[in-house]
């Protein structure tokens, strides 16, 4: 297994293809970059060679969106093999996936879908996380997802489910603070209570992103600046857990690279403030 904290607690940004050329050219001062693993599940071509060039200048985190850890279908061995091949090639500092499902009866829905928080789902997720950690021979970070519905069959709260997966498998946690806020609003709970249930030592990364509030519930679009209440929750998380590597994610209506860098600078200020207090 790799060292527990391969990345210092600094701010990074999600790297999307429209920004790749500028990042290669300008080499902006940002601590690390995260890409979606599946976008590099290719045999060759310019995207993969660009990533191989960029990894010389920045630590890279591989963030998966399609492994479907919580699916009642078997784990997709082909998908896992592609992830392993990519990880061997890129040597990422972190490898993460979502605590959700996306496939049933052989059909993929290619989305991050909500699990019922049942004992059956918990046991299955734990088995899968352990299998992935064994296959990759490194700790996996699992991320809490945003959800627009809950199930009557839930046997526990989301935070209990997330904490139990981490405790039982020894995996790391990618805490998405925006997703906690979105779910707190959508399902009516206190986000600070959620934070209090998280195993701080296992948090290896934090995600921040923007949501859409124009509908009947908050939608996690990754298409806007981080909202003020999410920044407040982030400050509370850093105060509670200490500084953690923090990533600005943006996927829809991708703005200029500078906007992401501005957001990362805000996160960096919070992290540096926390370091100064600790010193």
């Amino acid at each position: 297994m790799s060292p527990a904290n391969p990345l210092p607690p600094v701010a990074g940004i999600g790297l999307r293809s429209p920004h790749v050329a500028q990042v290669r050219h300008d080499r902006p001062a940002v601590g690390w970059l995260e890409v979606h693993s599946e976008n590099y599940f290719v045999d060759g071509g310019s995207a993969l060679s660009a990533l191989e060039a960029i990894r010389a200048d920045y630590p890279i985190s591989l963030h998966g969106v399609g492994l479907s850890l919580g699916s009642a279908d078997a784990l997709d061995a082909g998908h896992l093999a592609r992830l392993k091949r990519l990880a061997d090639r890129i040597e990422p500092v972190l490898v993460s996936e979502h605590l959700c499902w996306g496939r049933i009866d052989g059909r993929h829905l290619n989305d991050l879908l909500p699990l019922p928080f049942t004992n059956e789902a918990l046991a299955l997720c734990c088995d899968r996380v352990s299998a992935v950690q064994n296959a990759l021979d490194r700790p996996l970070l699992v991320e809490n997802v945003s959800a627009y519905l809950r199930f009557e069959d839930d046997a526990m709260a989301e935070w209990e489910f997330v904490a139990a997966v981490v405790r039982r498998t020894g995996c790391k946690l990618l805490l998405d603070v925006n997703n906690i806020y979105v779910n707190a609003v959508n399902h009516g709970f206190d986000p600070l209570m959620y934070l209090a249930a998280m195993p701080g030592d296992a948090i290896a990364e934090i995600h921040l992103a923007g949501f859409d509030a124009s509908g009947a519930c908050l939608i996690d679009t990754h298409g806007a600046r981080v909202a003020p209440p999410v920044w407040a929750l982030y400050r509370a998380a850093i105060e509670r857990f200490g500084p953690k590597p923090t990533l600005i994610e943006w996927d829809t209506d991708l703005p200029a690279l500078n906007v992401l860098l501005d957001e990362a600078a805000i996160a960096r200020a919070v992290l540096e403030e926390s370091n100064a207090v600790a010193a």
Binding site: I104, L109, T118, L149
Partner: protein
Amino acid sequence: MQSLREVQRGFAAATVFGDTTALAALGVVGGGLDPIARIGVYRNNVLGNYRKALGATYPVVRRLVGAPFFNAAVDAFVRAYPSRHGDVNRYGGELVRFLAAYAPARELPYLPDVARLEWAIDQAAIAADAPPLDLAALAAVPADAFERLIFVLNPSAHFLASAYPIQRIWQVNQDGFEGDDAVDLGAGGDRLLVLRGANGVTIERLGAGEHALLTALARRAGLGEAAARAAGKEDGFDLTRALRHHVEAQTLVAIRVPASTQPRTGR
């Protein structure tokens, strides 16, 4: 209490197929918002993701039919041809087959071939890298071995033949295309090579001889047999010129010289 599989099966039925009976059985907590509205968020996300992903793979098809038509076709495609990979980038090759049988698109008979071209472009961009052919190795082939010489094609090479001028259709529907965008559907068909070479992905029109040569080589036919096929399709076919061009363009990236000079025997 439902099993995890039952929940996920019901969820897929409710989102992809809009099955309200399945939704009712799911046991979704209302809590201030109707379960139909809640599953509707996922329905929009799931179908919206596919519309966006396939729109990026098939921009010309989308432009030819317009966004509303394209989105409706994608929704129907998703129901008929499930995604089989967690990597959405791998989804969509069967749209060609789907469109060929899609009644609302019948007025655009060239549409499946345009889709085939766009899928080939998409696949060429992510195919394995291949170093160019070593000309010294080619020069070292003894003259008596040329007949049986085998060429390895660039992994990105895709061949397409259509009864319609699909390269022209593709070209005039590119962003920023300027000039006369008229297409004469009766102008004759295309034999195309889609390839990722030194200059990225390109679309090249092939002559009848060239097409016969390369598709035979792609099947691992010996050069003698491939050249004979080309000559049969095109009077005065210039083999040397075609080989030189396709080595330079990196269509042909390696050679194998079979050891034996024995005539090939069947199994």
